[in-house]
C-alpha cells in the first residue's frame, strides 16, 4: 500500500514524494516541475533542493543539517522553512513518509 496520509511534518519525519508526484526538469520551459494528478506544480530552487534530498531515508533534520552546512546558514531557520514547505506539499496530498513498521 502507499505511504500514510495526513502527515504532520516534523524534524524526525522521513518524507518522500509518492508515486503519483514526480519531480522532473522540464526541458522545454527550463523549469523544475512536480507532476501530479491534474496538477503541475513549480517548486522554487530551494524546494527542488529539499525534495531531491528527501528520499524516505533522510529525516527532515538530516536534510536541514545538509542545507545549513552547504549555505553556512542558521540551521533552525532552515529547518522551520523546510517544515513549512513540506507540510504545504503534504496538505496538497503530494507527500508521503516512511514510518517504522509497528510490530
Amino acid at each position: 500500500m502507499a505511504g500514510p496520509r495526513n502527515i504532520s511534518v516534523s524534524e524526525a519525519s522521513r518524507p518522500v514524494l509518492p508515486r503519483h508526484a514526480k519531480l522532473k526538469y522540464d526541458e522545454t520551459r527550463k523549469v523544475w516541475v512536480i507532476l501530479a494528478p491534474e496538477r503541475v506544480l513549480a517548486p522554487d530552487e530551494i524546494a527542488v533542493e529539499v525534495l531531491q534530498l528527501c528520499n524516505g531515508q533522510r529525516s527532515v533534520g538530516d536534510v536541514s543539517d545538509q542545507l545549513a552546512a552547504k549555505y553556512a546558514a542558521p540551521r533552525e531557520a532552515i529547518l522551520a522553512d523546510v517544515i513549512v514547505m513540506l507540510q504545504d506539499l503534504a496538505d496538497k496530498g503530494f507527500l508521503t513518509e516512511i514510518r517504522e513498521k509497528t510490530p
Binding site: 496520509r5 494528478p37 491534474e38 496538477r39 503541475v40 513549480a42 522554487d44 524546494a47 496538505d91 496530498g93
Partner: protein, 397 residues
Amino acid sequence: MSDVLPIIPPDTSDSLAVLEKSRSTAETFGIPLAVLLEITHRCPLQCPYCSNPVELDRSGKELTTDEWKKVLSELAEIGVLQVHFSGGEPTARKDLVELVKHASDVGLYTNLITSAVLLTRERLGELADAGLCHVQISFQGVEEGLADRVAGYKNGHRKKLEVAKWTRELDLPLTVNAVMHRQNLHQLPDIIQMSVDLDADRLEVANVQYYGWALRNRAALMPTVAQLDECTRLVEEARDRLKGTLAIDYVVPDYYALRPKKCMGGWGRQFFNISPAGKVLPCHAAESITGLDFLSVRSNHSIAWIWQNSDAFNRYRGTGWMKEPCKSCEFREIDFGGCRCQAFALTGDAANTDPACALSPLHETIFKQAEREAEGETNRFLYRNFAGGTLESENGA
C-alpha cells in the same frame, strides 16, 4: 472532464506555485502541459451526460497503435508533460498497455480516465508495470440501483468498487470521479465517505456541464438551486474535514452562476485534446460547432503547427473575435466570454456571449428554463450510444 491545467511558469512568490497562465494575448501560445487523448469512443456504459460528441467516431476511424505512438512521441518532444488516456472507454482498446508503456518511455506522466468495468486485476497490474501514474474511476452513484441505472450497465457499480480496491492494492493513486446531477446529488455525503473508504487520494465532484448528450438530457439532470447550494456546502465542509486525506475538486454547473466559466482556460490558450480519429481539438465538445475545420494528426501538419496556426484554434483565441457585450466587457480577458460550444448550442453562434453570463441577453430566459426543468418531473434518460441515443423505458430499464 476534469479541470484544465494551467500552462506557464509561475509566480515564484510561492515555493510550490501551481503553474499558472499569466501572459498577455499578444504573446504566442505555449504548448499545453497536459493533453487529453480520447483514444476511442467505444464504451460499454451509456451515461446520459457523456462528454463525447453526439456524432461518435466509429472504431474503423480510430488511429492505429503506431499512429498513437507517433502522437505520444511528438507530444513529449514539443513539451507536453502529462497525457490523460480517456475515451469513450480507453480500456476498450486492446493496445492500451502498449500505449501507456510507450508514453512512459518517452517521459510522459500518464493518467487513465476509466469506467473500470472492462478491467481485470491482471490487466491493471500490466498497466501499473507499464508505468501508469494515476487512475481515475468514474462513479455514477453510491449504490448499484441508481448507479447502474445512470450508466445503463448492469453490475457496473460492483465492478468499479472492485477495481478501485485493486488500484490501491497495486499502490496506484486513485481519483474518484463523481458526475453529479439532480438524480444523484442526494448521495453526495455517501459518495464522499465512499471515496474515503476506497482510500482514494482525490475526489472530483463534477456537476454535469450541459453540452451534447447532457444538453439532450438536461430536463432529467438539471439540479435545483437548493440542491446546488447544499452541494457546495457539503464540499466545503468535507474539504476542511478531510484536508491531507482526500483532496476534493469541485465543478459547478454554470447555468446558476452570474459569471461564465473560463472554459478550457480560454479557447486555444492552455488545452487541446485529440479525438479517436486523430483530430486536434480546442475542447472535447468542439466538433459540435459546425463550420470549423479541425485538422488531424493524419494531415501533413505537425501537432505544434496545428496548435499555433490552424484556423480552428485561432478563430476564438484572444478577444479579437468578440461581439458585444463581450467586446467592451471588463471581464473579457478573465473569462474570455465563457464557453464557445455552449454559446453555439444555445444561441446558434459560437461568437456570441455564453448565455451562462448574466450579461448575455439570453441569460434570464435560459436560467428560468433550467429552473423550470429542475422542478419538473422528467426523469427518463436518453442513453448515449452509436445509434444516436435510446430513450429509457418507463419502468427504468
